[in-house]
Symmetry: C2
């Protein structure tokens, strides 16, 4: 059924997913995708064949706690009822929250002013299988000071061509507002007597090139292991040459945490403040 | 090859696994099991068809950070080399550590004096898919005082027939040395702006009946939600009637954390101290 029973409204929602069993966000010729599951579920609920727009095309294995979607639907029972119906019907590895009617012209990708990604890793002599789906295993000890120093070099507006390819157009300049490592607690699984350390790289930018966070993390971990110095990491940035960057870190450590929109900066700034 | 090239030694090891893609620990007619993967990997490495003994038969979906195994092998290259070879060959959802030659007569199940299980849940208005594989989703608010009060009733030596069936023999009396709830941090995934609460039930006993922890948690959550009072929970214990207990909580929140052996109590006590 592609006929609508009435006029459509644009809805927006936050989408969370465990990316482990998905071939990424975007619908593909074959394979299970987040977009595909959302469109299929909306079809079951409303009878409409509609297209779901997403803020970011996360790759296979990448997770999300703050993906943002929008879609146009003739749904007439209110956004809260739609949220309940979606969560009752979606598979357990996807959930929605904050379903609401979007403002005129809202587009999850083009209206976004920043995205924040987290990259999680754990340091341990042996693999910890219960963490393997959501964290990178880091066996070798890390020099956290060197990693902080290198992460700091990513801040500001720079040509990021060394870390990825643009999804649209040719512009590879991106503005990074946050870039730092922090210790995170996973005390349900990392407690005495098997003490471990879990770390998270936090990066916020006005936009990301394809594979950019994972190549940044690949480089930062190389710095942490002492394979390259922070200075060499800086030279890699300056080279704008993707062949000089480290291989991307595994997808499973990456999570799309938050997408920010203009209205979330009430003084009308077009981007988030650097900090 | 079932011929041994020489005399065998008994080895022991700690095994960790993510239970999500296993039909439990124990080999079955069909389906992927932890024991099956271990035996297959040992066969690949040593050529021996050997039987792996486990401390606890965890059910499908149940995880482990501290399962203990033993097996007899003619492996001649030392336990550290065996640990490296196993971890290089096992699938990513299983890992071993502390591989060592076991003392004479060591049996992971019969030599054990206590097992400790954790049960993890998170409280949130909506499902959080990245936590779904390892935590129970708890939507309704919980009365933590009432849950603590009920957990306390599980301590000591009691007939636990209300919570499970014995795996061997008819004896349903078990001694519970630890039984309490605590808050755990999952700060990689539960941080502002989506603040959540994660809780862990810790229970240590000299042995567990089949389904015992999950039925205990089912009852404790019912107490937390106010569906039954702590006094009724106490009556359920006293009834020794499994038909009076709440349905078992989902397997995915459960993790076998640790198995203790006599030698870990140097003064020769046959069981762990209550606390």
């Amino acid at each position: 059924m592609s006929e609508h029973l009435g006029e459509t409204q644009r809805f927006r929602a936050i989408v969370e997913y465990d990316g482990g069993d998905f071939q990424g966000f975007q619908v593909q010729a074959t394979g299970r995708t987040v977009q595909g599951e959302l469109e299929r579920t909306l079809h079951r609920l409303s009878g409409e064949m509609l297209r779901v727009l997403g803020a970011g095309r996360t790759d296979a294995g990448v997770h999300a706690r703050g993906q943002v979607i929008a879609f146009d639907s003739a749904w007439r029972h209110g956004p809260q009822e739609l949220e309940r119906a979606l969560n009752a019907t979606l598979p357990p590895d996807i959930a929605v929250r904050q379903v609401q009617v979007a403002e005129q012209g809202f587009h999850p990708r083009y209206s976004a002013v920043s995205r924040t990604y987290f990259y999680n890793l754990y340091c341990s002599q042996t693999r910890i299988p219960v963490l393997e789906r959501h964290y990178l295993w880091q066996r070798q000890a890390l020099d956290l000071d060197a990693m902080d120093q290198a992460a700091w070099m990513l801040l500001g507006e720079q040509d990021m061509a060394a870390f990825g390819q643009p999804t649209v157009g040719m512009v590879t300049v991106r503005r990074v507002m946050q870039s730092f490592w922090r210790r995170v607690e996973v005390s349900a699984y990392l407690a005495a007597p098997q003490v471990g350390l879990a770390l998270q790289f936090v990066v916020e930018a006005n936009g990301f090139l394809r594979g950019m966070v994972r190549r940044m993390v690949g480089g930062l971990v190389a710095v942490g292991e002492g394979r390259i110095s922070p200075a060499v990491f800086g030279e890699t940035i300056a080279s704008r040459d993707i062949s000089r960057s480290e291989p991307p870190a595994a997808a499973r450590g990456l999570v799309l945490w938050q997408v920010k929109y203009r209205e979330e900066y009430p003084d009308g700034r077009s981007s988030a403040p650097a900090n």
